[in-house]
Structure formats: structure tokens, C-alpha cells
């Protein structure tokens, strides 16, 4: 058991380890005639780092958007399980489930599903501190009159929530950027701030959309370390989209592979690595299809003439 010197638990889930946390059940998502996702099903287990991989345009981000309520799939359900254990306040929580596919995205966030975006979506005019404090939004009360008065509940609340935010700043080593506007920060730092903002929600489930895209090896290593810290120290379950296979195979407990909106493999990293369908999707293969070979031959003949 790892110990941590922090006062606050960053894990917002009340689910005991090993039980199903998120069930994606046969979802299909279409944009007009474009089928972004077709009959995708998998289960994320509490306490796992669950990677979703696939070539570009496979529907990974669409899937994440479905989970966080930004898109609503035409068919299928996504269920988030809660309870069965204790929450971060130490209270026993009854088992229950929420149908994420029917909720608007801010309500999904209120259930503790936090996310980062592929293209950084920070509040660029605000400081790092303000961005992280916004992660506390769902845990705060926002009365207009109390805010105007400042002295009293509003100030007390600001200070109260600052404690957890400072722990996140400490965990992600953002101390020196605390008061800098995020728009002016380096790309790698912005990615870290985005992870921090999601952590401040005290997530039950953390969705990370390419947290290491566009980073050099060193930054990637740092980011992988932060994700593992979050996962091991706080016990947060993570769903991760990533293109770097070394990272994925190293840190994830389970991998789902998408290709053209379909789930082609789902298993442990070793199982997925050996799966012929995955190898074909990533590397392509010599086709066995006679019609394709025929067409290729005719094209060749035409160019010869």
C-alpha cells in the first residue's frame, strides 16, 4: 500500500477495486451518413488504466466524447457504476448506476467523470490557479449575493478549496506557474495544467485524450509518471487515448483497439500485441481478396499501354 502525505483523496469513486466501473454497451454513433462508431462494447474496471488505441479517424475521440456527454450515441448505453464501497469522505455508498448517454456533459462531470482534451482546451486568459480552482466548480456553491459580499461564505469557500488545489499543484509540480496566465505557458506545461484541472474534480474516472501528443521523450516520460502517480497514489481509474505504443503497453492494464469505428480487439497489452486484426489495422497486410488483386492488375495493364 502506497502512502501519501496529502490530506485529500483525489479519487472520487466509491467503487471497490476490481468491480466494473464503466460499461460501454453496444453504442453506435452516426454523423449523417458517416458511421463514427458501430456496436462498440467494453468494460472499464475500477482501478485500471484502460487504453484505447487505433489508427487516426478510428473513432477514439468520438468514443471519449460519448462517455463525457458531449456526443449522444444513437444506439446503446454507457453506464457508470457507483457505490459498493466508501467515498472520499469515508461514507458508505449504496450501489447504483447512471446512464451517461442520457445526461448533458455538465451532469456527467458532476458524477466525477473528468477529462482532458486532445487540443488543449484551457481557459487561456485565466491563471493556472484559476483554471485549477475551476476544477473545484462542482464542489462549490455559487450564490450571487454571497459572491458580491466576498467576506463570509465566499471567502471561506475559496480558502477551503484552495487546499486541495495546492495539493494538485504540488503533485504535478506546477508551483512556479501558479499565477501565470495559461495562454502564455509552454505546450507541455499546458497539458499538465489540463490534467491538474481534471484532477481537481476528484474524478471517479479520468478520461485523457492523447495527453502526450506532440511531446518529446522526456516530457512524455514525465507525463507517464504523473499519470501513474495519479493512478497509484490516488487510485483513480484512467481511460487513456494514446498513439505511443511504448507508453500504452507500459502503463495500461487493459487495451481496447478501434478501427473504422469498430472494436477489433480488447484485452491485456500482451494479448492485443499478438492479435492479428490489430497488426493488420496498424501495419496493413498483403490482401487475399481476388477482386482487389484483379483491379490492381487491370490498373497496371492500363498504365503499361
Amino acid at each position: 500500500m502506497l502512502t501519501r502525505a496529502y490530506q485529500h483523496s483525489l479519487n472520487g469513486s466509491s467503487r471497490p477495486e476490481g468491480l466494473p466501473l464503466l460499461e460501454v454497451d453496444d453504442i453506435s454513433l452516426r454523423f449523417g451518413g458517416v458511421k463514427a462508431l458501430t456496436n462498440v462494447s467494453f468494460t472499464v474496471t475500477q482501478g485500471h488504466v484502460h487504453a484505447i488505441i487505433g489508427p487516426n479517424g478510428a473513432g477514439k475521440s468520438s468514443l471519449l466524447n460519448c462517455i463525457s456527454g458531449i456526443y449522444h450515441p444513437q444506439e446503446g448505453q454507457i453506464r457508470l457504476h457507483t457505490g459498493g464501497g466508501q467515498d472520499f469522505r469515508g461514507k458508505d455508498v449504496q450501489e447504483g448506476q447512471h446512464l451517461l448517454t442520457q445526461l448533458p456533459s455538465y451532469k456527467v462531470a458532476r458524477l466525477g467523470v473528468a477529462r482532458s482534451f486532445q487540443n488543449i482546451e484551457l481557459f487561456s486568459h485565466l491563471s493556472v490557479l484559476e483554471n485549477l480552482m475551476l476544477g473545484r466548480h462542482i464542489h462549490m456553491r455559487h450564490s450571487v449575493l454571497a459572491s458580491m459580499l466576498w467576506f463570509g461564505p465566499a471567502r471561506k469557500q475559496e480558502i477551503e478549496h484552495r487546499h486541495l488545489v495546492e495539493e494538485v499543484i504540488d503533485l504535478l509540480q506546477l508551483q512556479s506557474y501558479r499565477h501565470k496566465p495559461v495562454g502564455a505557458l509552454a505546450y507541455g506545461i499546458q497539458k499538465r495544467v489540463e490534467l491538474g484541472r481534471a484532477l481537481c474534480i476528484q474524478p471517479a474516472l479520468l478520461l485523457l485524450d492523447e495527453p502526450m501528443a506532440g511531446m518529446n521523450a522526456e516530457e512524455k516520460e514525465d507525463m507517464a509518471r504523473y499519470i501513474l502517480d495519479v493512478h497509484e497514489l490516488a487510485g483513480v481509474s484512467v481511460v487513456l487515448i494514446e498513439h505511443d505504443m511504448n507508453v500504452v503497453m507500459d502503463i495500461s492494464d487493459r487495451v481496447s483497439v478501434l478501427d473504422f469505428g469498430k472494436l477489433i480487439a480488447d484485452g491485456t497489452p500482451d494479448e492485443v500485441k499478438a492479435d492479428p486484426a490489430v497488426i493488420e489495422a496498424y501495419l496493413g497486410s498483403d490482401t487475399e481478396d481476388d477482386e482487389v488483386k484483379d483491379a490492381e492488375r487491370r490498373m497496371q495493364e492500363r498504365t503499361d499501354v
Binding site: S68, A109, L122, E130, M133, H137, I138, M140, V144, A154
Partner: protein, 356 residues
């Protein structure tokens, strides 16, 4: 208390959350206070009336900046909302016989409600599209008060004469003390408005407004209810504007539709752009600047009339042209407004003798 910004080492979150940390900042605040107190003793009635107009404009501009500068919802309905505040307060106090402070408070609530209603398009529209939608609210309100169906508002006169302000046994006096007494009332309300608005933006409520402005999808993904945040911003902003409208009515003692046209909406928009979008201080500077500018132009034109007679005879044209020129110059020299200009001056002295 630290002398300079480099000597500030906060030991508690309470001290860090204070708006001012250095002695220089407190000295500037005290000077502002002294200035506010000294003004009625040095200015004559004419300049006092301008000071009062500025104070009302400050309340209105702060309100508009909450919506446009902080929440990113462009609004051209300012004039209409001022009118709602003005008419509501006057009808409630003079015709229904409510005590004036209560009437003004109810006018604030009424304007907040109307503002929220006309904010509904903001849930679907952004940017220029929303600007056009709020332009409709301006036109609708202006149309209603101008036509005055059933003579409900003005009783067929086209305008309402407002009784001299009085509350709790106090009555604003005649010509010699009128402006000075009003100055005290308006200064107190303007300071309270500025402080209240400033406070909003150091709490979670204000942060959620700014989050909506910067990235609405991300704001929703961290649990901000967009509908609620936008409508709250419309309500709070319109509340301030309603207060400004009600005060305009009671101060000028006559209410008519000409005071609440689209021109007023655009003037207020110009105030917050020149002052600095997304800053309370900017709204204050903008209100002062845009109210003083026409007066200064007129005085300069009058002074130069003997030398350049054209200035006097074509005063309105000269005024408009100079007005436009100054705004254009401002947008070129410092697009982030007077507030940013002032910050740059402060930075220059803070870093002196170094450049940065």
C-alpha cells in the same frame, strides 16, 4: 506591509486573496478616496453635474462589462435595459407610492428578469449573431416605450416628470445643493457597485463566467451548467444596468424614450472597449473618459472659436469626428484599453531602471 511587489511573501491564503498587497497600492486607494471626497468642494455646479453623470455611467459600464468583457456575450441591448430600470422605478415610486429606495431595488430585480429573458438567445447564439439578437431586444423595448400602448407608461404625455428624490425623511434640496447631495448618493452607490462586481470575479461564480467566455465546451466538461452561467451573467449584468437606469431617471427628474436609444447602447459598448474589456477598473476608466470627451471637445472648440471660427459653427460635426478619431487611435495604440495602458505605466515604474 511590503513596500514593493518584490517584497510580498504571503503567509496565508487570506492575505494572498486580498486585492491589494503593497503599500503603494494602499496609498493609491487612499488617494482615490480623498479625490472622491474633495470633488464636491472644488467643482462648481456644472462640473458636478458631469461628475454625477460619470458616476451613473460607471455603474452601467461595470454592468455591461460583466456581460460582454467577462462572459463574452456581446450585448447591444444596454439602452433598453436602462429604460426598463428607469420606467419601473419611476412608476413604482411616483405612481404606486412605494418608497423610492424600495422602488429602485425592485427596478433592479425587474431589469434582471427582463435581461434574463432577452438573454435566452444567448444559449444558442454566439458572437456577432448574439449581438444582432440583443439588438432586437433594444428595438423591442424602445418601440414599446415609444408607442406606449394604452398610455400606461406616460399617460399620453410621451414623458414622465419625476418627483424630487426623497427617502427616509430626507429630501434632496434645491439648485444650490442639488448636485452635491446627489453626488454623495451616487458616489456611495457607484463605489458599492464597483466593489461588488470586483468581488464577483474573485469567486467561483465569476470564474465560471470567464470559463464560458474562454472555452465553453471545456467549461461544460468540468461541470459548469452553461445555461445557468449565461443566464446568471445576463441577470447580474442587467441588475447593474437597471440600477443605472433608475438613478438616471430620479437624477434627471424626467424620463422619456430619447434617453434610451441604440446610440446609448453603442456609447456604453465604446466605454468598455476604450476602458478595457474584462476589467472592472477598465469600465470605470472608460465611463470617465467617454463622458468627459464630448465636454472637453466642446470646451476646446469654444476656446479656439476666435482663431478658427469653423470649429464653433460646425461643433456637432467636429465633435463626432474627434470622438471617432480618438476611439480609433485608442484601438490602434492600446487595443486592450485604458486599463492596460495604466498597467503598463505601473510596470514601467516597477521595473525601473530596467526595461523588463
Amino acid at each position: 506591509m511590503a513596500m514593493t511587489a518584490t517584497g510580498v511573501h504571503h503567509r496565508s491564503y487570506t492575505s494572498e486573496l486580498r486585492l491589494r498587497a503593497t503599500r503603494a497600492e494602499y496609498v493609491r486607494l487612499a488617494l482615490m478616496g480623498v479625490l472622491l471626497v474633495v470633488v464636491p468642494f472644488v467643482l462648481d455646479n456644472y462640473w458636478m453635474s458631469i461628475a454625477n453623470t460619470i458616476l451613473i455611467a460607471i455603474i452601467g459600464a461595470v454592468g455591461l462589462n460583466i456581460l460582454v468583457g467577462y462572459t463574452g456575450q456581446i450585448s447591444l441591448g444596454q439602452g433598453g435595459f436602462l429604460a426598463v430600470g428607469a420606467y419601473t422605478s419611476v412608476i413604482l415610486s411616483d405612481r404606486m407610492g412605494l418608497p423610492t429606495p424600495l422602488a429602485i431595488a425592485l427596478a433592479v430585480v425587474m431589469t434582471a428578469v427582463v435581461g434574463t429573458f432577452f438573454g435566452l438567445p444567448g444559449l444558442r447564439l454566439k458572437g456577432l449573431y448574439l449581438a444582432i439578437a440583443t439588438l432586437a431586444s433594444q428595438q423591442i423595448i424602445e418601440f414599446l416605450i415609444r408607442r406606449d400602448y394604452g398610455d400606461f407608461l406616460t399617460g399620453g404625455l410621451g414623458y414622465i416628470n419625476v418627483e424630487r428624490l426623497g427617502f427616509l425623511g430626507f429630501q434632496v434640496g434645491g439648485r444650490d445643493v442639488f448636485e452635491r447631495q446627489w453626488y454623495v448618493i451616487l458616489a456611495v452607490l457607484a463605489v458599492l457597485s464597483v466593489v461588488a462586481a470586483r468581488n464577483i470575479f474573485r469567486t467561483g461564480l465569476g470564474r465560471s463566467f470567464m470559463a464560458v467566455r474562454d472555452q465553453d465546451i471545456a467549461a461544460e466538461a468540468i461541470g459548469v451548467n452553461l445555461t445557468r452561467a449565461k443566464l446568471t451573467a445576463f441577470a447580474v449584468s442587467s441588475g447593474f444596468v437597471g440600477l443605472a437606469g433608475a438613478l438616471t431617471a430620479h437624477y434627471s427628474e424626467v424620463v422619456s424614450w430619447e434617453k434610451f436609444t441604440l446610440e446609448v447602447s453603442i456609447l456604453y459598448l465604446a466605454m468598455i472597449i476604450v476602458g478595457g474589456l474584462g476589467s472592472i477598473a477598465g469600465a470605470v476608466y472608460g465611463a470617465i473618459f467617454m463622458t468627459l470627451l464630448p465636454v472637453v471637445i466642446r470646451n476646446v472648440a469654444n476656446a479656439l472659436e476666435s482663431v478658427v471660427p469653423f470649429l464653433g459653427s460646425q461643433l456637432p460635426a467636429v465633435q463626432n469626428a474627434t470622438f471617432g478619431l480618438v476611439i480609433i487611435l485608442f484601438l490602434i495604440i492600446e487595443p486592450r484599453g485604458l486599463n492596460r495602458l495604466w498597467e503598463r505605466i505601473k510596470e514601467y515604474f516597477r521595473f525601473w531602471p530596467f526595461r523588463y
